[in-house]
């Protein structure tokens, strides 16, 4: 843009601007509402996303007055237990940032250590660079980022990959947003051994575990998405199931709920096969009954104790 044209588009100092209108034109409210509807719980995460959205909107208004400020760093770190929705939020993040005009394309490139680190000397740099180039204009999501750094093996190529990432996170801030994700304790260890990485990430968001009520709400949402529903007794049985499952080992929040639902669908199908005598209705096909849940091994093990 030429200087003359730039001066033309700059508003005078006392011109009023409408934050509401700006919000509407960006359609970001729609995404935030969708986030509220489809993501149960996760209060701190939603607050942080709102804050970021507000900052970017205000930044856009400031641009109208030619108030330049440095592009905010939006690299993020998501920590939380398994199944707390880190990946889901990351993919939403790409869309939100796209609507706010922070990233140009708004696609999500999801990678793990395998995609970044090579197998022999000289293999890592091109591999990492290729992934970074693919992610440009969007969001690079590195799941279980702590695997990149293996302190017990000093000849590990992960460090090389981290070095390239750091460089890009600093120099190409306009081109891509990097989101790291992983379990809290291991991410902390990762950042302690890579202080450069910690300081380049502005937003550390912790994903809390879900409460039993939230998990039930999630279960209902998942079923609705697959055109199933609980019967009244089924819902009651599942709300008994959740606290029992939470006490057992390897509980992974929403992921465990999804697995439990998949198994109860299996049992429902089996049950429908067994009722040979009569014709099935649409209602039979979509309803998960209490017995589909009560046969779960979780109840047996709870009885034993």
């Amino acid at each position: 843009m030429s200087e003359a044209k730039q001066a033309e588009t700059t508003l005078p100092d006392d011109a009023p601007v409408d934050l509401e209108a700006e919000l509407k034109s960006s359609n970001v409210q729609e995404v935030l509402d969708q986030l509220d509807r489809e993501l149960i719980g996760l209060k701190p995460v939603k607050t942080r996303i709102r804050e970021i959205a507000a900052l970017l909107l205000v930044d856009r208004l400031r641009k109208k007055f030619a108030l330049s400020s440095e592009t905010p760093t939006l690299h993020m770190n998501f920590t939380g237990n398994p199944g707390t929705g880190k990946t889901t939020v990351a993919s939403r993040m790409a869309e939100i940032l796209h609507r706010l005009g922070y990233v140009r394309e708004g696609h999500l490139v999801s990678v793990t250590r395998d995609d970044l680190v090579g197998q022999y000397i000289g293999h890592t740099a091109p591999k990492t660079k290729e992934v970074i180039k693919k992610a440009m204009g969007g969001v690079l999501f590195i799941d279980e980022a702590y695997y990149l750094y293996k302190p017990e093996n000093e000849r590990d190529y992960g460090a090389e990959s981290i070095e390239i990432l750091l460089q890009v996170m600093e120099n190409n801030r306009d081109d891509l947003v990097v989101i790291l994700a992983g379990y809290k304790d291991r991410m902390d260890k990762f950042f302690n051994s890579n202080p450069g990485m910690r300081s380049r990430i502005a937003h550390h968001v912790d994903f809390p575990d879900y409460s039993p009520d939230e998990l039930l709400a999630i279960a209902k949402l998942m079923l609705a998405q697959q055109n199933y529903r609980f019967s009244a007794e089924g819902e009651k049985a599942f709300s008994e199931y959740i606290p029992l499952r939470m006490k057992m080992d390897h509980f992974a929040n929403a992921r465990s709920v999804r697995n439990a639902l998949d198994r109860s669908r299996l049992r429902q199908a089996n049950r429908l096969f067994a009722t040979k005598g009569r014709n099935l209705t649409r209602n039979d096909l979509i309803t998960i009954e209490a017995e589909d849940i009560m046969v779960s091994r979780v109840f047996d093990e709870a009885d034993k104790k």
Binding site: E105, H107, K133, M136, G138, N172
Partner: protein
Amino acid sequence: MMTNPGNRLTQGQFSFLPELTDAQISAQIKYALKNGWAVSVEYTDDPHPRNTYWEMFGMPMFDLKDPAGIMLEINNCRKTFPNHYIRVTAFNSSRGVESPTMSYLVNRPKREPGFGLSRQEVDGRSIRYTVHSYATDKPEGERY
């Protein structure tokens, strides 16, 4: 009369226009990416029009969404070979096409000596013509 003052090489798209700016280059790349073509960066210091296969600067870039990654490679290439010809090629891999669909220069040497026309007299006073780049009299790497 000089038909091409400055002896500018005219190969590929846009070569009769003033040099493309970086914004224009990235707009062209964006068009290629939108069509799903793989973009690559190539360089050479032999400007002969029949020199089809230029040196590849890195691999062709597949599955990119944004021109920023390719601009990065172009700038790397310009830094490494400031006095070479550099072109950007977009390859269309759809069945039946499978060939480059775009190709344009993004860098050229500061001084281009141009081509000479040499004539060879053969049987029956016939004449055979050939073009010869003055730059290629020197060995590779020392031409510009």
